[in-house]
């Protein structure tokens, strides 16, 4: 491994045409912004779908204005049918997990800032990088096209358990063309992410500038690196699984369909497949995917916090080792999704212990964050508010993992809203808080303008309280045995829970509407925000040594030289500043508060 970059200073020239500059660009920064914009479009679609779902769950017979126009079959008279509810749910989850929670914190911010933070001019394979975005966008467009086929999108959920997902049209609306489109979209998405992961890994291993040893890499760069390693192995399993699923539909194979299945009195002409095989393949990808969504958020939040606390973390090493431990353990625990699936009950115990052990690195990270706040000079701005909110959400979502890690308790909580609350809190809301924190923090660098802090803080407060109002009650519903993925609650023991569902729906509509403040702030600041200085937050990592936004070749054709890690905060310097930038040869004077 090279300790010092040997890459030439300029390995591609400046873009000369509009198309090369803004559309088919090989510049990692443009690709990062493209990913971010894709995530923005996707999150708007995903959020509107969740609004529709929540209205239906609160008031099952309510006619939703305009919905009939969108889908005459799915919502006759504007009232959603049960199958249309499931179709919207499947699309909501697939869009959010893949095209928001994976693309924004990992592909968008990672693309933009990983090369810069490592001191590289670009990634080693810029054309693969460009391809990665366009392939991912194609995946998104293919997925959304499922809305426009005759039966609509699939209804099997984002986990698409076989054989419901494999049998085809006979299994239900959307299970024919819609399901094939879904699997195709994800297989395409995987290709895009594999290309991205390869680039990220080789950037960190081979493109670091002089002096940027691995131990000097900022924590966010480490998080993207760890995530890439997970992505490389996880997406490499999902892709073939999706291809096998497609083959069951179009080539008459039976990977996931056993013999003897009967639908509408017709024997399904397949035999020899295993339904549990899909679950094993899916969750072998699916559990690391949870960490692919959250680890970049942990890196971003640590980076934002350390900048705003004006002190180093108590132990950055402990955070890094914990993130590696999470990544490693994420492959050992996937079976906790399958405790009551019918796999050997002994396996449940084998999967339970490493799942419980995941609590240890998670706790270490949380304690280091909280312990580092002690004695800090915490600056409150929108980015740090979202970072602190992230910690609170991560704790709230994390503790419910204690229950779900145990097979005996899972007997009561499996497939209930408790699980929905758990993963929304941890990989949904906490990850979103990481994205928001990163956005408010890096927007000035990416767009050269400051975001409005007042609007940002209003956005934080309403979102923080709103998301708790939505997702904490999910746990109560699950505790009472409320099964998830129900289009209506008609069981006797579920009827008393409907008022709680209505409360959640109101909170969800409100919190969703609050995001319009963010969208307005984002778009308005993009064009009318105050011009951003190079280093508005007094940060130390390399993105802050360049103009905002940076030039096409990042460091102006020069290779930066790094002398410190990115945690030189709270130090005493000759200039009076309380920080030293990574590329500054200046040494801290004795007498700083860290001494």
């Amino acid at each position: 491994m090279h300790e010092v970059s040997t890459a030439p200073a300029a390995h591609h020239g400046p873009p000369t045409t509009f198309i090369r500059k803004h559309v088919f660009s090989t510049d990692h920064k443009v690709i990062g912004i493209q990913y971010y914009h894709l995530a923005l479009v996707a999150v708007v679609v995903g959020m509107v779908l969740s609004w529709l779902m929540r209205i239906h769950l609160g008031w099952t017979n309510a006619a939703i204005p305009g919905l009939q126009t969108l889908s005459p079959n799915g919502a006759p008279g504007g009232v959603m049918t049960p199958e249309y509810y499931l179709q919207l749910m499947t699309m909501h989850a697939t869009i959010m997990v893949f095209f928001v929670l994976t693309t924004a914190p990992f592909a968008a911010f990672g693309n933009y800032f990983l090369p810069i933070q490592t001191g590289a001019e670009d990634m080693p394979f810029p054309h693969f990088n460009m391809m990665s975005f366009w392939v991912t966008l194609t995946g998104f467009l293919v997925l959304v096209s499922a809305f426009f086929v005759s039966d609509g999108p699939p209804l099997a959920g984002w986990t698409s358990y076989a054989p419901l997902s494999a049998i085809g049209k006979a299994a239900g609306p959307g299970q024919g063309a819609g399901q094939v489109i879904w699997a195709t979209a994800l297989a395409i998405f995987c290709v895009g992410q594999l290309l991205g992961a390869l680039n990220f890994i080789s950037t960190v291993l081979d493109m670091r500038c002089k002096g940027m040893t691995l131990s000097r890499l900022p924590v966010s760069a480490w998080a993207w690196f760890i995530t890439s390693c997970m992505g490389l192995t996880a997406f490499a399993v999902l892709m073939p699984a999706c291809i096998l699923l497609i083959l069951d539909h179009v080539a008459g194979t039976s990977f996931f369909i056993p013999s003897g299945l009967v639908i509408n009195d017709q024997l399904i002409p397949h035999s020899g497949g295993s339904t549990l095989l899909w679950q094993h393949l899916f969750w072998f990808f699916g559990h690391p995917e949870v960490y692919i969504a959250i680890v970049p958020g942990m890196g971003i939040v640590t980076h934002v916090l350390v900048t705003n606390m004006r002190r180093p973390m108590l132990s950055m090493k402990a955070i890094l080792y914990s993130m590696w431990a999470l990544a490693f353990l994420s492959y050992m625990v996937y079976g906790h999704h399958m405790f009551v699936s019918g796999m050997n009950p002994f396996s449940s115990l084998v999967f339970s212990f490493p799942t419980l052990m995941i609590t240890i690195p998670s706790t270490i990270v949380v304690l280091i964050w909280i312990g580092s706040l002690y004695g800090s000079q915490l600056r409150i701005n929108t980015a740090s508010l979202f970072a602190l909110g992230f910690i609170s959400m991560f704790v709230s979502g994390g503790v419910s993992g204690f229950f779900l890690a145990q097979p005996s308790i899972d007997i009561m909580l499996h497939a209930t809203y408790f699980v929905v609350g758990h993963f929304h809190m941890v990989m949904g809301v906490a990850a979103m808080f990481g994205i928001f924190s990163g956005t408010y923090f890096w927007f000035p660098k990416m767009y050269g303008r400051m975001m409005d802090e007042t609007l940002g803080k209003i956005h934080f407060w309403l979102t923080f309280v709103g998301t708790y109002c939505i997702f904490m009650p999910f746990h109560y519903l699950g505790w009472a045995g409320n099964v998830r993925r129900y289009a209506a609650f008609t069981d006797d023991y579920l009827k008393p829970l409907i008022p709680l569902h209505q409360f959640i729906s109101v909170a969800a509509l409100f919190t969703g509407a609050v995001q319009l403040i963010f969208l307005y702030n984002f778009i308005n600041s993009r064009f009318r925000g105050k011009p951003a200085p190079p280093n508005p937050w007094e940060g130390t990592s390399l993105e802050w040594i360049m103009p905002s936004p940076p030039p096409w070749n990042n460091f102006g054709g020069k290779d930066p030289v790094v002398y410190h890690d990115a945690e030189q905060y709270g130090v005493k310097t000759a200039s009076g500043a309380d920080y030293i930038m990574q590329n500054s040869p200046e040494q801290a004077l004795p007498g700083g508060d860290g001494d």
């Binding site: 054989p163 009967v262 549990l276 009950p345 115990l349 004695g375 709230s396 308790i409 099964v483």
Partner: protein, 267 residues
Amino acid sequence: MGKFLAVTIIVIAIASAIPVVMHTWEPPADISTHGHLIDSQRDDTMIEAGVSFLAAQILLAIFIWQFAGSKREGKRKTFPGGAKGLVGAALVLVGAEVLALGAFGTKAWATVYFTPPKADAMPIQVQAGQFAFYFRYPGPDGKFGPIHPEMINEGTQNLFGLDPEHDVESRDDIVTAEMAIPVNKEIHLLMHAKDVSHSFYVPALRVHQDFVPGLDLSLHFTATQIGKYEIVCSQLCGLGHYNMRAYLEVMSQADFDDWQKKQAAAQ
């Protein structure tokens, strides 16, 4: 603003805990012989998770309150014990906590899954299909006739694909749409999926098991309270998933015998 955030976090943490402490939303009361093990494991976990949740949120809030906007005054204070103390605490306390939970939880799990049904347990077969459960009792011969999937026909009510003409064991099988069982009698439930994955979830019985197409599974349990309870499907199975349910009637042995006779006569 930091102080306001600190107060908000504490208010949210306490408000979140109130419904749990007050038992505002609870599952149906347990009616099984093994359920108390699950419930006590769940309640023990709630104490550990609840304490961790409140401690972390309150500590976070206190430090935000104390240090937001503070200026450097002399040497920086470092958390007592530093990183080593915190990592040690996480390893020892949380390690012990999760090991204890894992070890005690194993007992509840083992009771359900690692003990075989008693020799005199009553066999009942349940078949899950879009979007109904059907039940089969073996009749006086105590044997289930084989299932012939190609003969399943809802129109002729041959719901299990039985062939009484050729299979002697099928002739006295009793097929019903609701599940009746005698109280305090162990049931050996044989699970068969007709089409896609489903689940057999009876919150009151503390029983939850997926149906796996192509793989017949079994469960055993004993109900201790006479009454009518809901069996619901928890594994997404298609458009009617939300509506897939059946009732479990727990009866006295005498009532069950009468019920079975009536069902046999109606076949």
